[in-house]
């Protein structure tokens, strides 16, 4: 057992008691990375020097007493689409392969205030577009449970790094499932907060009305602390919500007596692997034994969510990615004939296949003559999907289902078939369209691969989501399973 496996409170007690230093934690993290990274390949940039300097600074503070931050000393990995002042931020794109930000994302300032230690930047699908990490321009991160399989995506590096215990926690971003799906595939906890709960300032924009930053952790308790540290209104993000941030530790009760659970019928229908369905249905017995009640609930417009999402997200992406023009930063093509040619050549050289495909789709959907048929239609369907949830939450406190229809698939299996790849997101996408909070927690293994239970809550009610997730976790052992690469015995 590594010091990185200690619970946060015990870890902080040991730090306070002088039995442990932040340098010990950082060195444990770096050692684990050296050991596992040849297989896992989660990192794009490792900042050993910066991490050691930060650790020394915190150790010095420890010696002199004083208030410790909420995440004091915890080694953190950051998805590489969150800008870090002075530390290369690539979005896993050739376009930004040498880009060094000159400012911090708000979440990075908040982590600094909470005193975690940034170990490095984690792999992802290019510009967060994809669900397998195969769209990274640099490397394909492996699933720690089976290196022949994908870790999921787009926050695949974040989930793989936590699953293989390279870092204590990681930040990811979720536009259509990009925190929850890799968390499910890698057997860890992934929380997508309510849209607006966490500032997007400094998150390189993919689809601005859907993107949200959130934690990926080993357990629900850690997710509570990380969310507490990063949540809150930010004047730098005009879509960040001016809603009070509660004390999320109130969710750590283990008590779900009287909780009303809706089981999303459409998330357990056609296309869901039988073993995934079985694992999710088995969670109901646990919730029942804890005093919660459940009933089936219908979200009738679920089957339209993927189509609506790909039109909306790609449209927003085509607009957001217009900023990558080769003028101010990033790739600039050699010998352009003129300015337009500079844009064209730089973008074509800098972007990978999936990013170009989505820019093309979004540009088409927004182009003259097609806007009403595609973009506007998708926005109207978005309303219907949101209404499905509004109705469900009149009767239920949470809605549950699987996070993904299957367990992790093999590398290369779906890369040539974008539509099949998109359908992996059927259970996560509706949640982004409705802007709701949702968590994925491990709920067992199917043929040795992790299955994720998804718990969806009302807007800004992360507390109930976390309370249900924590109670389930405390009542089961699934979150204690770990991949062989992280010292676990593979089931």
């Amino acid at each position: 057992m590594s010091v990185l496996d200690l619970r946060l409170r015990e870890l902080h007690d040991r730090l306070a008691g002088g039995e442990l230093t932040v340098t010990d934690l950082v060195e444990a993290s770096l050692a684990r990375i050296r050991e596992t990274e040849p297989v896992v390949q989660a990192f794009i940039t490792l900042d050993e020097e910066g991490a050691r300097a930060q650790a020394a600074e915190l150790d010095n503070q420890l010696k002199h007493g004083g208030e410790r931050g909420l995440l004091f000393g915890l080694p953190a990995g950051i998805k590489d689409n969150i800008v870090t002042d002075g530390l290369k931020t690539t979005c896993a794109s050739r376009f930004l392969s040498n880009y060094i930000p000159i400012y911090n994302a708000t979440v990075m300032d908040k982590l600094r205030a909470a005193q975690s230690v940034t170990i490095g930047k984690l792999n992802m699908d290019e510009f967060a577009m994809g669900g397998s990490n195969e769209n990274s321009a640099f490397k394909a991160t492996r699933n720690p449970w089976d290196p022949e399989r994908v870790p999921g995506g787009s926050s695949g590096g974040s989930a793989a790094a936590v699953a293989s215990r390279q870092v204590y926690f990681a930040l990811g971003s979720d536009t259509g499932g990009s925190i929850r799906q890799p968390a499910a595939y890698c057997g860890v906890v992934g929380l997508k907060p309510t849209y607006g709960r966490v500032s997007r300032y400094g998150l390189v924009a993919f689809a601005s009305s859907l993107d949200q930053i959130g934690p990926i952790t080993k357990n629900v308790e850690d997710a509570v602390y990380v969310l507490q540290a990063i949540a809150g209104h930010d004047p730098m993000d005009s879509t960040s919500a001016d809603v009070e941030v509660p004390d999320y530790t109130a969710a750590l009760t283990g008590d779900v007596r009287g909780l009303r659970i809706g089981v999303a019928k459409e998330y357990l229908g056609e296309g869901i692997a039988p073993q995934v369905k079985e694992a999710v249905l088995a969670t109901l017995k646990v919730f029942e034994s804890l005093g919660a009640t459940w009933e089936e609930v219908s979200l009738p417009h679920t089957e339209y969510a993927v189509a609506a999402y790909y039109l909306l997200a790609s449209s927003e992406a085509s607009s957001n990615l217009a900023r990558f023009d080769g003028v101010r930063y990033g790739v600039r093509a050699e010998n352009p004939a003129n300015l337009i040619d500079l844009y064209r050549k730089s973008r074509s050289q800098g972007f990978g296949a999936e990013v170009k495909r989505r820019i093309m789709l979004g540009t088409y959907a927004l182009s003259s003559g097609y806007y009403d048929a595609y973009y506007l239609k998708a926005q109207k369907v978005r309303t219907l999907i949101k209404q499905d949830f509004d109705q469900a939450f009149e009767k239920f406190d949470i809605v549950i289902g699987p996070t993904a229809p299957t367990t992790a698939f093999r590398i290369g299996e779906q890369i040539d078939d974008p539509l099949t790849m998109y359908l992996n997101d059927i259970c996560t996408i509706p949640v982004n369209l409705a802007g709701l909070p949702a968590i994925s927690v491990p709920c067992g293994l199917a043929d040795g691969l992790p299955v994720g239970l998804q718990i969806i809550g009302k807007a800004f009610d992360e507390t109930t989501v976390l309370r249900a997730a924590y109670a389930y976790e405390q009542a089961t052992e699934h979150h204690k399973l770990r991949p062989t690469v992280a010292g676990g015995a593979k089931a």
């Binding site: 879509t239 919500a241 003028v327 930063y329 352009p336 337009i340 182009s367 109207k380 369209l433 409705a434």
Partner: protein, 95 residues
């Protein structure tokens, strides 16, 4: 839904992308398949459904129009592919 090579070229031009012949053929096929799938949305009558562009009840967020320091030019220029005297250099815009 059939997407022609000409459609692909038109959209690529709007998106400021330069595609190879191979890419054009591939995107024509793949975009066609994705848009076919999107036709599914037409099964729904949305005549009286308002569009959702944003899930939060957001309005314009204003701040006082007071001057504040900007990022220092020398730092901004650190990422510039081509620069002269604190300005980004680009090919001539006017002939």
């Amino acid at each position: 839904m059939s997407i022609s090579i000409r459609d692909v070229e038109h959209v690529a031009n709007l998106a400021r992308l330069e595609l190879t012949e191979e890419e054009k053929a591939k995107y024509a096929e793949q975009l066609g398949a994705i848009l076919d799938y999107a036709q599914k949305l037409n099964e729904l009558d949305t005549e009286n459904v308002p569009p959702t562009s944003h899930v939060l009840p957001v309005a314009n967020v204003m701040r006082d129009d007071e001057p504040r320091p900007s990022s220092p030019i020398d730092k901004v220029m650190l990422n510039a592919p081509d620069e002269e005297d604190g300005q980004f250099r680009v090919p001539a815009v006017l002939e």
